[in-house]
Symmetry: D2
Subunit: 349 residues, 4 copies
């Protein structure tokens, strides 16, 4: 797909940790051009490079460094507003942008479970974008990205759901520190330690998949009935959420059939070659010790999900381990892929 | 209980990581006196302080430093032989000691599932010591300690089993590096990483509890029928295994009833005040972020198990988190408690 | 030395990280009794256990847990006020307490270099306590503790100064995270990283020793003329500052003579057996790989300094490595030792 | 510069950690083509992918995976042999290859200080390649790469030497774990720890620069007389050596003059655009907290050296911090740059 002219985009919360990842991933995007960076009053008016405490290991893009930071008010010169805002304020700000005609693509939790708002994983449920018509924002709209620990899991589950049906899913996560933002977790709490609690996280993992896997009928999403149990832990890893998953399938399936289902899985983003789409959404590793966050988190530009250790389970049918990059696939990259899907669907005009 | 004269004990594999922990914990024991330290041929003949690469943060006990290291052959001057041997050689060596009349208390996996060998957690199944009569070693015998990730779990499960019955248990571990011995895991594999695989570990967690919870009848252990699913991970923690556990009970139980069952749980080692026994085997924490290995692993001299986050689970009945010190309660300390139990039972003469 | 009745003490900034260490170390002190815990308005009025986010791995002392937190105003019922206040407010608050007749023993930097205020390391310069007479606070006074990275160094240097004279000292530190307080350094900044900068730290290391080693004459301190160069780094260690030190001596000295000077070094706190004094201030290790923070920081109750690797240096005369516990010897413990010295000197009435 | 046909190269010790880095960096090299991978007898005969325990986070190159591993004997089909051999065997093996006519470019220490062997940093002393003529290996020869902690330092010192003269240099390193190879440092030794000792390292840092900065006269290297003192530490960092450096200059220089000297520094590899040369050898950062290994080690493909914190020093003239990637610039990448320099000099035929 070719784009005649780059689409102007703005980033809300551009100085935060998710905002920075948006900046890094959009700075040289083939379809989008950052025309606005917006943040809180404290930063507004400053040059971006002066307002931001850049924490990424890739350098601050030069073409963004001298941009003037604006307020998070719907007076920005752009069509799409990517939101990396903190959930304490994201709800209202995003609504105000949608009402003013912007396409808001948000990484925040606030509107995820709203009934007219797509909770989008483009490989899985891009048809949910039709929900937007029901939104009452005129030309504007809100589209959301699932929680960082949800995305990897639902991508790994989708081929199982399609091929064998899913009755129950159990998941225990070991999540990276970058998921808590910056400064986030204190170093004294994480060296030589595990924190077996992430506020609100288990609930997201237990509820978001039902919406993502839901069927669109009459412009409403009928939630899937998969039962999910989740336990979430924070471990001493910089990037990359590792998840131990158990599944009870509806139909019998052999280990080979499951691996095959994963290996051949491909979605619309792959078919139409969206710029940020991974070549393969799922990568299965045969080595017993894989996947590992340090080694596999950047697979397929950080947009692929790594899977390993598929084996029988005494309580469910199978167990396996997945890994996905929480700030790329699980945040900024996932949101950008949503926006690309909308462009491809001709929804950005 | 008072002991008239200290019982002479030897340590097999005394220079290894478990062996060192035995040395540290036995150096000033009220009942036992280390009279022998034995190790491989490479160390034999040297002074202990010269043979060992002491890795503990407590100092090498002065009264042991100059002891001469002996061969692991049954010619040691002691009654009890604590075995911290590697499983590649432990099986045969332990048998040779038992045949020669020694009481072998082993931390190795080799004889754990032998039908005449007690797999002992003194708070749970000290009656299993009667099995020893069936062993064919004359005055000698072998008693074993469960795997480091099993002990904490079975202690937390025991009051649930007794009060409400247990149908199914699901466990995902985040295990400490010290469980892999020394040098064990390479630093390049653990910084900024999780390793979702520990060879052989899941099988131990799924099978050992059935024996530990088994009923002794006709001098045979009738295995418990609890179904257990286990997934094991290595995380960047020095000491202390954290485990996310889900349980399906046979009888209904409220959160308060379960907490009460944990809080009042006490075993024979507590009753008769064995020197190494924790005052309370189980410690429940109300703070959502607890237990954490850095903070709670040393609770009750490292012999207590910390529990937290009891809450309802959509798939099982309840889920919670436990933590126990893998080289104290889960290895050397657990084995010493077994030996103390035998002394209290008048089995060491 | 025996104390007839415990001396009532208060802790300013009791909920902070240094304040917590004061609480932990004073909770069962043989001479002192915590009668007051004071903190900012946000905490004042609450029970201590509710106001504090307890971050130490030792449990919150039960006898302090229910104390009511007071304001940091000079209306506390105590004789000594230990200050763990942040330097942004410590200056004024400490003065107000001194003026009101309290003995203030402070870990903050504000008054350290005041000409009438002792910068005390009891093994080195307890005669500096005489300076107090010149303070204009009536019955009250202020005594300070050096910076956490200074204390270990000056203790290791003192025997060299006394025996061989010191011309130049060069030091490069690798400092622990706990030195930055809590939450302090973000975990994303420290895992797999070194931060080669600690604001203001190098200046303290370069200037404080001159005062500590200064001679008291006519109730004034004549600064020592040792030239010191310092470079400070933050590394991924929880507790314990490691320092690479080079020295140029005034007199020739052999390696053996230096080791001997260190080994026989003992100060007044050792002689009169102050409760918090280490048995030996300095511990030399012959192993090339020692000292190491994980292994040696708690030596002698965390009050001892570990030294190792003494060897010739091409640019100076000798180089060596020291290690000391930054929150014990370098903060709360050091300050408590100062107060004990004052009690022994009959300065607390 | 264009190459008509790729030059066949072999890698000695191809399965080790340095060997793997050679494989990764040479797999798609514009001038060189890996035609042979050689290792110890244990690996020889196997496919490379089966013989190697691949530890890099970049994937094992597909075009190398199925190559058959050969013995480290001079019967390989290649012109250049890159040696990542362990120093316990490198000396003899490298000689045997040179004698057989191979160009050996070695990362091992064995021949570094041999008087006919260039110790090469192409930006600094590419004229030392003339020494090769004096070697007695016929068409073959040996060229070496300095120690990983030396390279970054000499690159940062070179413009100071050229512009202001250097009298004394003092350096304290905080070195990454990857410098110890794999498995290298045990995780139990590095979490929450610093190891203030690296065997043999300080001697290399104190002696190698004198040769590197030496003048070639009469086909002999006249060693530079800079006096260097070094102290080396291992810290919990995966890649990237951080070094605190102090310098005494021969001529006065202002901070601005020094920064300018660094910023304009460029060598022959930059001029002739060698494929692996960094665009700029030195990158100065104004932020006080920079450079940091996690952020800057990969600068300029891992071949650039980061510098920061230039400031006056009380004992020397100036102090500053440098950082360079120990396995890229400090090992495989540095050696490859040496080979490229030889190709450009028409020494590979």
């Amino acid at each position: 797909m070719a784009i005649r002219k780059k689409i102007p985009v703005g980033i809300l919360g551009a100085t935060g940790s998710v905002g920075q990842k948006f900046v890094a991933m959009l700075a040289n995007h083939p379809w989008f051009e950052i025309t606005e960076v917006a943040a809180s009053e404290r930063s507004s008016g400053k040059k971006y490079k002066d307002a931001v405490n850049w924490i990424l290991t890739t350098p601050l893009p030069k073409n963004i460094a001298n941009m003037k930071v604006k307020d998070c008010k719907p007076m920005l010169k752009c069509k799409i507003a990517f939101s990396g805002l903190d959930s304490s304020i994201a709800g209202g700000v995003e609504e105000s942008f949608a009402k003013a005609g912007y396409i808001v693509v948000s990484n925040s939790k606030n509107h995820r479970m709203d009934k007219d708002v797509p909770l989008l994983v483009p490989e899985i449920n891009s048809d949910h974008l039709k929900l937007i018509k029901k939104q009452k924002f005129g030309k504007g709209c809100i589209v959301t990205n699932p929680n960082c620990s949800t995305i990897g899991m639902v991508l790994a589950l989708k081929p199982l759901l399609d091929n064998f049906g899913l009755e129950k899913v159990n998941v225990v996560t070991m999540q990276a520190l970058s998921g808590a933002g910056y400064p986030g977790v204190a170093s004294l709490d994480t060296i030589d330690n595990v924190i077996p609690f992430i506020c609100g996280e288990e609930d997201k993992l237990e509820t978001e998949p039902a919406k993502i896997f839901g069927k669109l009928a009459d412009n409403k999403i009928e939630y899937s009935r998969i039962k999910i149990g989740a336990q979430c832990n924070r471990v001493s890893v910089i990037d990359g959420h590792t998840e131990c998953i158990q599944v009870k399938l509806k139909k019998k399936a052999s280990i080979d059939e499951i691996k095959k289902a994963w290996n051949k899985f491909s979605g619309k983003p792959q078919k139409i070659k969206l710029p940020t789409a991974p070549l393969k959404p799922l990568h299965y590793f045969e080595e017993a010790k894989y996947p590992q966050p340090k080694i596999h988190r950047d697979i397929d530009k950080g947009m692929g999900v790594s899977i390993g250790r598929l084996r029988k389970d005494p309580l469910f049918d199978y167990k396996f381990v997945i890994l996905s990059h929480n700030t790329v696939r699980g945040a900024a990259g996932g949101a950008i892929l949503c926006a690309e899907m909308m462009v491809a669907n001709n929804m950005v005009k």
